[in-house]
C-alpha cells in the first residue's frame, strides 16, 4: 500500500492540505504566455518557482519550455525586485530577442509589493524595451486561486494589453481558450475551418508545445497567436470564451476594453458540451453546421449506443480542474455512468453552481472544491464508497493502485504517459477517444479478472 496511512474515517481539516488537487498561479501564467508567438515568459521571483514551473510543464509536454527568472536573492526580497526585473528585461532582449516578454509575479514578489505595471512602465520610459517589442504582465500571487486562475489572469493580461479597436469590425470570432492541451487547440481550429468560420484563437499552444523534431531547436517555435492577430481581437464581431474560470476572464477583458460582446461556453469535452459549442459557433458566425461535423457527432453517438452495456451504472471518481470537470462530469452522465466523487482544489463559486446544475439528477454525487478539497479527501471518500473508475492527473495512480481501480489519465499534469498533448480530448473526436480509453480500461480489467471459462474473445 503506497498510501498506507490514508484513513477511512473522514475528519474535517483546517490547517493541513494533503495531496493537493491544484497547484499555484504562476505555472498557469507561464503556460498561457507560451501560447503567444515569439513570447518568452518571465517569472518575477526567486529561481525556484521558474525551475519548478518549467520542469512540470516540460514533464507534461515532453517539450522545451523556455522561461526566464528575476533570480531574487535576499537583497531583492528586502529592497524590492525592480532592479532585478529591469536588468532581466535588458538581458533578455540582448540574449534571447523575443517579440514579447510576459512577466508574471510570484508569492515572493507579491508579498513584498512589487508593482509590475509600474516597473514595466519604467522599463519603457527608460528605453529598455526595443522598438516594436512588448513587455506585458499579470499579477499571479500563489496564495490566491490556483494554476487555473493564473492562466486566466495571464489571458486577461494578454487580451487587455494587446487588443486594439480600430472602429472597423472584422468578420472574425475570437475564441478565448480555457486551459486545454495543444492538441485541443489544434482541434478547435480544425472544427472552425470545417465550419468555415474565421477565428482568432488565443492563447494557442499548438506548434509550440508539440513542435516537430527537426534537428534544430527553435527558441520561438512557429506556433502561438501572433501579435497582429491578438491586436485584431478588438475588432472581432464577438468572442466565445471556453471555460467559465480559465477562459472567461480573457473575454471579459476584451469586452471591457474594446466592447467585443462575448458568451461563455464550457470547454467542448464530451457530447453535450461539444453540441453547445458547435451551436454557439454556428450562431455567432451565422453559418450552417456542415454535414461532416454532423457525421462526426453521429459516429460518437453510434459508439455510445453500441457500447452502453459496458458503461451503464459504473461509478466514477474524478479530480482535476473546474473547466474540465464540468463538461467531463456531464459526459459521464451522458454515458449513463455515475459520477460519484468529484474534487477540484481550485476555489470558485462558479464551479459549485455549475456542478449543482449538472448533478441535479444525481443526488448521490459528492463534490467539493477549494480549500480542503484535496486528493486525500477523495481517497477517503473512495474508501467509504468504492468506484469502478478513476479519472484524473498522474498523481491519481497511487490511489488507483492501492484501491485497484481502473484509471484514465486526464488533466494536468500527466507526467508518466504521452498522448495527451497529441490527441485531442475536445470535440466529437476527442469524446470518442475518451470513450475508447474508458472502455479500454474496463475491458482490460474484465479480461484480467475473468475466470478462464469466462475469458471472452468477442464483445
Amino acid at each position: 500500500m503506497l498510501l498506507r496511512h490514508t484513513t477511512k474515517e473522514v475528519k474535517e481539516r483546517e490547517g493541513l492540505t494533503i495531496n493537493p488537487a491544484k497547484t499555484c498561479q504562476p505555472i498557469g501564467a507561464m503556460y498561457a504566455a507560451l501560447g503567444v508567438h515569439g513570447c518568452l515568459p518571465h517569472s518575477h521571483g526567486s529561481q525556484g518557482c521558474c525551475a519548478y514551473h518549467r520542469s512540470t510543464l516540460t514533464r507534461h509536454y515532453k517539450e522545451p519550455v523556455m522561461s526566464a527568472t528575476s533570480s531574487f536573492t535576499e537583497g531583492a526580497s528586502v529592497f524590492g525586485g525592480q532592479a532585478n526585473l529591469l536588468q532581466a528585461i535588458d538581458t533578455i532582449f540582448s540574449v534571447y530577442d523575443p517579440d514579447v516578454i510576459a512577466v508574471h509575479s510570484t508569492c515572493l514578489s507579491e508579498t513584498i509589493g512589487d508593482d509590475l505595471q509600474q516597473i514595466t512602465k519604467k522599463a519603457l520610459d527608460d528605453g529598455k524595451i526595443p522598438e516594436g517589442k512588448r513587455v506585458i504582465y499579470a499579477s499571479t500571487p500563489s496564495f490566491v486561486g490556483s494554476h487555473v486562475t493564473g492562466y486566466a489572469n495571464m489571458l486577461a493580461g494578454i487580451a487587455e494589453q494587446f487588443a486594439k479597436s480600430t472602429g472597423e469590425k472584422k468578420d472574425q470570432i475570437n475564441i478565448v481558450a480555457g486551459w486545454m492541451e495543444p492538441s485541443d487547440m489544434r482541434e478547435i481550429k480544425r472544427i472552425a475551418k470545417e465550419m468555415g468560420v474565421r477565428i482568432v484563437l488565443f492563447p494557442d499552444t499548438s506548434d509550440v508545445l508539440d513542435a516537430p523534431q527537426t534537428g534544430k531547436h527553435e527558441f520561438y517555435p512557429k506556433g502561438g497567436t501572433t501579435i497582429e492577430a491578438l491586436e485584431s481581437t478588438g475588432d472581432s464581431k464577438s468572442s466565445i470564451a471556453l471555460g467559465c474560470m480559465s477562459g472567461e476572464p480573457g473575454a471579459i477583458a476584451l469586452d471591457k476594453k474594446c466592447k467585443v460582446p462575448f458568451q461563455t461556453e464550457d470547454i467542448p469535452i464530451g457530447l453535450s458540451a461539444t453540441d453547445r459549442f458547435i451551436m454557439s459557433l454556428s450562431k455567432a458566425a451565422g453559418v450552417e453546421v456542415p454535414d461532416e461535423i454532423t457525421a462526426e457527432r453521429g459516429r460518437l453517438v453510434d459508439v455510445m449506443t453500441d457500447m452502453e452495456q459496458y458503461l451503464y451504472g459504473k461509478k466514477v471518481a474524478l479530480f482535476g480542474d473546474p473547466d474540465q470537470l464540468i463538461p467531463l462530469t456531464e459526459f459521464v452522465l451522458d454515458l449513463n455512468m455515475k459520477p460519484t466523487h468529484i474534487v477540484s482544489g481550485t476555489p470558485g463559486q462558479r464551479f459549485e453552481k455549475r456542478m449543482k446544475e449538472i448533478l441535479k439528477d444525481a443526488p448521490y454525487a459528492n463534490f467539493k472544491n477549494g480549500l480542503g478539497a484535496d486528493m486525500f479527501l477523495m481517497h477517503q471518500w473512495i474508501k467509504n464508497e468504492p468506484v469502478d473508475l478513476l479519472i484524473g492527473n498522474t498523481y491519481g495512480k497511487y490511489i488507483a493502485r492501492d484501491e485497484d481501480i481502473p484509471f484514465v489519465r486526464f488533466g494536468f499534469p500527466i507526467l508518466d504517459r504521452i498522448g495527451h498533448s497529441y490527441f485531442p480530448n475536445v470535440g466529437y473526436s476527442g469524446a470518442l477517444r475518451l470513450v475508447e480509453k474508458i472502455l479500454g480500461v474496463f475491458l482490460d480489467r474484465q479480461d484480467r479478472d475473468a475466470p478462464e471459462e469466462k475469458f471472452e474473445l468477442v464483445m
Binding site: 490547517g15 492540505t17 526567486s46 529561481q47 517539450e63 535576499e74 535588458d90
Partner: protein
Amino acid sequence: MESMKNFSDPSVIKEELIKKYPPKVAKKRAKGIVLNDPEATPQVQANVRTVPGIITQRGCSYAGCKGVVLGPTRDIVNITHGPIGCGFYSWLTRRNQTRPESPEAENYMPYCFSTDMQEDHVVFGGEKKLKQAIQEAYDLFHPKAIAIFSTCPVGLIGDDVHAVAKEMREKLGDCNVFGFSCEGYRGVSQSAGHHVANNGVFKHMVGRDDTVKEGKFKLNLLGEYNIGGDAFEIERLFDKCGLTLVASFSGNSTVGALENSHTADLNIIMCHRSINYMGDMMEKKYGIPWMKVNFVGAESTAKSLRKIAEYFEDDELKARVEEVIAEEMPQVKAAIEEIRPRTEGKTAMLFVGGSRAHHYQDLFTELGMTTLAAGYEFAHRDDYEGREVLPTIKIDADNKNIEELKVERDPEKYNPRRSEAEIEALKEKGLEMNGYEGMMKQMKEKTFVVDDISHYESEKLIEYYKPDIFCAGIKEKYVVQKMGVPLKQLHSYDYGGPYTGFTGAINFYRDIDRMVNNPVWKKIKAPWEKASGEAELNADYVTQ
C-alpha cells in the same frame, strides 16, 4: 587533445559564448567559464548570483532542503509551510525510492503535506494555520517526526517556524517537530538549502539514540539520495562485504537511523557539495572521521570499497572486499567488452548537480568516451578546484544568510575513532582522509568547465562540438534533443537506474550505448528533404 583536434580554438569559442551578453554580464560570465588545465587548476567563479533574465538550470533553497535532503527520509511528515505550489512541485518528482521494512511501516513519501497559505495568512500571519496543520498531521498519523519547510512568503511575513516547532514539540510530547528556514530566496541556488537542511538534521536528529548496533565495521553513507535505487545497490555491496550501514543521509533512510548515526565509525561522502559540512561537524562533535568516495563507475566502486577496507585496517575485510570485487567485475568486463567498441571515441558533456557532473565522467571513461565540457549548477569552488581552496573562498552577503553552526566536542559522546597519529599514518599510506580533489584535476586540458551554465551557452557549446551525448536535467532534455543530441537526465535518470556500484555501471553502459547508437538520430530529416550537396529526387514519370 585527440578528440578535440578538429575543433576551433577553445578560447575563441569561449568568446563566442559570451559575445551576446550585455558588457557587465559578459564580464561576469567570463569568470564562470574556464578552459581547464588539470595541472594548474584555474580558478572558477562559483556560488555567485545568477544574472536576472538569464535562463539558468538552477532552483532554490527550498528545493535543496525539502526536495533533495529531507525528501528521501520516509518516516518524517514533511510539511511545506506556504502557498500550494512549492509542496506540489516537490511531490514525488525526484524518483527517490525507499523500502519500508513491512507493509505497515511508516512511509510518507507518496504524500504531499502543505499549509496551502491563502492571502489572509500572508496578511495576518500563518503561524496559527501552521500549528493547526501540525496538530492535524499528528492526530491523523502519529509520526515520529514532523518537519516544517519555509517558503518565500513565510520568511518575509516573519512567521517563526522554529518557535512554532518548539511549542508543538513540547505539546505533542512524543513527536520530534523541527523547522527549516529554507525560503527560496536564501543563497543563490539549491546549495543553500542543502546546508540549511543538514544543519537541521545535525541539530535535531543526529545523536538522539545511543544504541550501538551489532557489526564490526559501521559506517554512514553521506550524500546519497537513492534516485532510481542507487542506495539499494550500494547497500547490497555493503552487505556482501560485511559492512554495517548505520545511516544513509538520506536515501532510503529513517528518523531512527539518522538519530543513531553518531554511533558509526566512519562517514563516507558521495555528494561532496550537498553534505561535506556534515562530515566535518560529525567529526568535531563525535570524533567520526570522513572520507570522500564515489560509487558511480565500476572502477570507482572498487576503489571506494578498498578505501573503506583500508580505513578499517582489517585483513579479513580487505580479503572480503577483494572477493566481492572479483565476483562482480567479470560481468562488468563482459559488458564493457561488448559495448565499448560502439562507444569508444565518442564525446559527452555534463552539466548537472554539485558532484554528479564529476562522478559520471568515470562511467564515460570506462566506455572510452571523452568529456568535452562539464560544470555544476549549484557547486562551490571546492567542488571544482578541490578542498585546498576552501580558505581562499570569499564570503559574500549571500553566504552570510546561511547559518554556520558552531560545533564543539560533545562532552559525553565524543569518541575519536582514530587518533590524530593514526589518521596521519593512514594518509601516509595514501588514503585521502577529509580530502577531495575536485572535478577539474580529472578533466583533460582545454576542456570546458562552466559554472551555472545558461541555456544560451549550452546551446552554443552543442552547436560547436556536437557531442554524442549531453547530460543534464529535465528542463534541458528536450531542448538538447531537438538539436539532434540525446540527453541523459542525471537528476532523475529518465525512469532508469540504478547507476551506482557494479550493477549500476552495467545499467549505465547499456543506456548510453542505446542512446548514442539509436538509429533514430539519423532519421531526423525526411528522405524528401534535400540534404546539401546531394542530388534531388530522380524519377521517371510515365505519361499516358
